[in-house]
């Protein structure tokens, strides 16, 4: 990893160059009370105050609605055509958070598990992530309980930390990151020694460890805790849709006469129809079973099968939930519950 120092006052100059040389720069933009990753054309549009965006950054590689291919029927023949690779824009994700960056690792694993998803990988290859360390957090943040942290470099291309003086530290993790630095070589000064960034980071205390949760989940399938925790859950998909790692999708055909396209769109295991069979049988007929699936998938099945946790501790699901299903609070209970009873 290379380290550079840039004057804080020069960061916008750098961003201006990035905007000039990149097809699409997505940055947090305020819209009413909410903050979204949106294309920006000038550095001033960026919102630096928010802890996180309302929605996650997954849409850069896994859009809510993705055309997989187009089809056309003529007589008995159907011709298929692929979406051209050029239509996926070269993208810089600016002022992501460390929890946004780390969220791409589970997505990479999911979309390359048994089937290598070409569209996902094309989008991913064209994405460069510039994350900014967190100097502030809110009551929903719990990254430090799931192996992350406010200054974590995992998954990012560059991590920028605004130090307590006039300087900012840029930790460059990948080649893609180095390319962005090389846009403005005069603005950056390479530093050899380890710059201590810890005093510029938010203090987020760890409430449990993912190992603790995993250990407790081993015996928890038949636990009474699921019914207890999920009683108030109203079964919407808000948690899954704002989650950086939830990747379940539905496949639909958007047809008009003989032409059409096959679409991949977000789905959620919280919906009662998610597992309903054509026969009418539903293996997860109750909300408690769907809630159990949500947590077991993230904290047990994913670590087992693809060696990565399905949670970054960003807290978006807790912020979005209409009935305050606070995930950190529920995980804490799970890690401190006797599931035998």
């Amino acid at each position: 990893m290379k380290r550079y120092i840039i004057e804080k006052s020069k960061v916008n100059e750098w961003l201006k160059q990035i905007i000039k040389s990149t097809e699409r720069v997505l940055a947090p933009v305020k819209d009413g009370e909410k903050v979204y990753f949106r294309p920006i054309t000038s550095p001033q549009e960026t919102d630096y105050d928010s802890v996180t965006t309302t929605e996650s950054a997954k849409e850069t590689v896994f859009p809510r609605t993705e055309t997989l291919f187009r089809f056309k029927t003529e007589g008995k023949d159907t011709t298929l055509s692929e979406v051209s690779a050029e239509s996926y824009p070269q993208t810089v994700l600016w002022r992501a958070r460390p929890c946004d960056a780390v969220g791409f690792l589970p997505l990479d694993a999911i979309f390359n598990w048994d089937y290598k998803d070409n569209i996902y990988n094309l989008r991913r290859a064209k994405l460069t992530i510039v994350s900014f360390s967190c100097n502030t957090s809110d009551s929903c943040c719990f990254c430090t309980s799931v192996g992350g942290g406010p200054g974590n470099t995992e998954g990012t291309d560059i991590l920028v930390t605004l130090l307590n003086d006039e300087r900012a530290l840029a930790e460059v993790v990948t080649e893609k990151g180095e390319k962005l630095i090389s846009l403005c070589p005069t603005l950056f000064k390479a530093v050899e020694s380890d710059e201590d960034k810890s005093s510029a980071l938010a203090k987020i205390s760890s409430r449990f460890t993912s190992e603790q949760v995993q250990e407790h989940l081993k015996n928890a399938f038949d636990s009474s805790i699921w019914k207890q925790q999920s009683a108030r859950c109203i079964g919407c998909g808000a948690c899954a849709f704002v989650c950086p790692t939830c990747a379940c999708f539905d496949i639909q055909d958007d047809k008009c006469g003989r032409d059409g396209k096959r679409i991949r769109c977000w789905d959620s295991c919280g919906f009662s129809l998610f597992t309903k069979h054509t026969s009418g049988y539903n293996p997860r007929p109750e909300q408690s079973m769907r809630w159990r699936q949500r947590l077991l998938h993230k904290f047990s099945y994913m670590p087992d099968r693809i060696k990565v946790l399905g949670c970054t501790g960003c807290g978006r699901c807790s912020r979005a939930c209409p009935v305050d299903m606070n995930i950190a609070e529920h995980l804490y209970s799970i890690a401190n519950y006797n599931h035998e009873k």
Partner: protein, 261 residues
């Protein structure tokens, strides 16, 4: 009149309820709480911050069990319960309502008539923010209004939190999920989002009690409550204020049109 804790205790003891649906302190604001034993009673709270419309649980049979259920009921909960009763979704005697706005002052209501008179005696103060926003949108030109809704609804991610939070969205199979024929495209896109939200509003016409739970549930703060609210005013203008029930399935035998006969 009595306080919430005493009332809850007496319901468990005298009325043999198995469950009281109420509110407890949450991580950021009060949240719905399922109180299943007298040990949990101290957790019950009730004050102005208790916003969730817990009437949404009144039609969730798997949560309710078979016994008598108590529910801590704010005005919005009572209004929704009356509408659910009108639509034959809940029965008299199925629930005991602990009505009030604050834990220090609640009263027990057991039948429809007493709920109705409580609601009549507590007229809701119109939410000035909602009125203002509606007025603002009404004053727009058609083009601006279209642009406004197109912009707002294009953000919709189709998480259906609006539907899940609405006590009157109790259909076991929502029109959004019917796929033969597929009335509404299920993917998030400006047009299909519009289809969904317009359908939702139409299905709420004359039924919506104006609680705003759909808006409060929306993770993106889309002002979708304004759609149902506006439709309510239009319904009362066209069909009269006294109309009760669902305009989609109500009819007047004297109507000059005869397609429903």
């Amino acid at each position: 009149m009595s306080n919430l804790e005493e009332t809850a205790r007496s319901l468990f003891k005298e009325e043999k309820v198995n469950l009281i649906i109420g509110f407890e302190e949450g991580s950021r604001h009060p949240r719905p709480f399922f109180c299943t034993s007298t040990d949990d009673i101290p957790k019950l709270i009730l004050d102005k911050r208790c916003h969730n419309n817990t009437a949404v649980y009144l039609t969730k049979k798997d949560l309710l069990g078979t016994g008598l259920v108590g529910i801590v009921a704010t005005l919005r909960v009572l209004k929704s319960a009356l509408q659910l009763s009108l639509e034959n979704q809940i029965n008299e005697g199925q629930f005991i309502f602990i009505a009030g706005e604050d834990a220090s002052d609640v009263q027990v209501l057991k039948d429809k008539a007493s709920i109705q008179s409580y609601v009549d005696a507590h007229p809701e103060i119109p939410d000035s923010k909602v009125e203002e926003r509606l007025h603002h949108i009404e004053s727009m030109s058609r083009e601006d209004r279209w642009a406004f809704w197109k912009n707002e609804l294009s953000k919709c991610i189709r998480c259906y939190a609006c539907r899940a939070a609405c006590p009157l969205c109790y259909c076991e199979r929502c029109v959004a999920e019917v796929n033969c024929p597929q009335w509404i495209d299920p993917w998030a896109a400006p047009l299909s989002n519009m289809e969904w939200q317009v359908n939702r509003a139409m299905h709420m016409a004359g039924r919506c009690t104006g609680c705003g739970a759909c808006y409060e549930a929306c993770p993106l703060d889309l002002p979708i409550n304004l759609l149902t609210k506006e439709l309510s005013s239009e319904i009362s203008e066209d069909f009269g204020k006294g109309i009760s029930g669902n305009v989609l399935s109500s009819f007047n035998p004297a109507d000059k049109e005869n397609f429903f006969k």
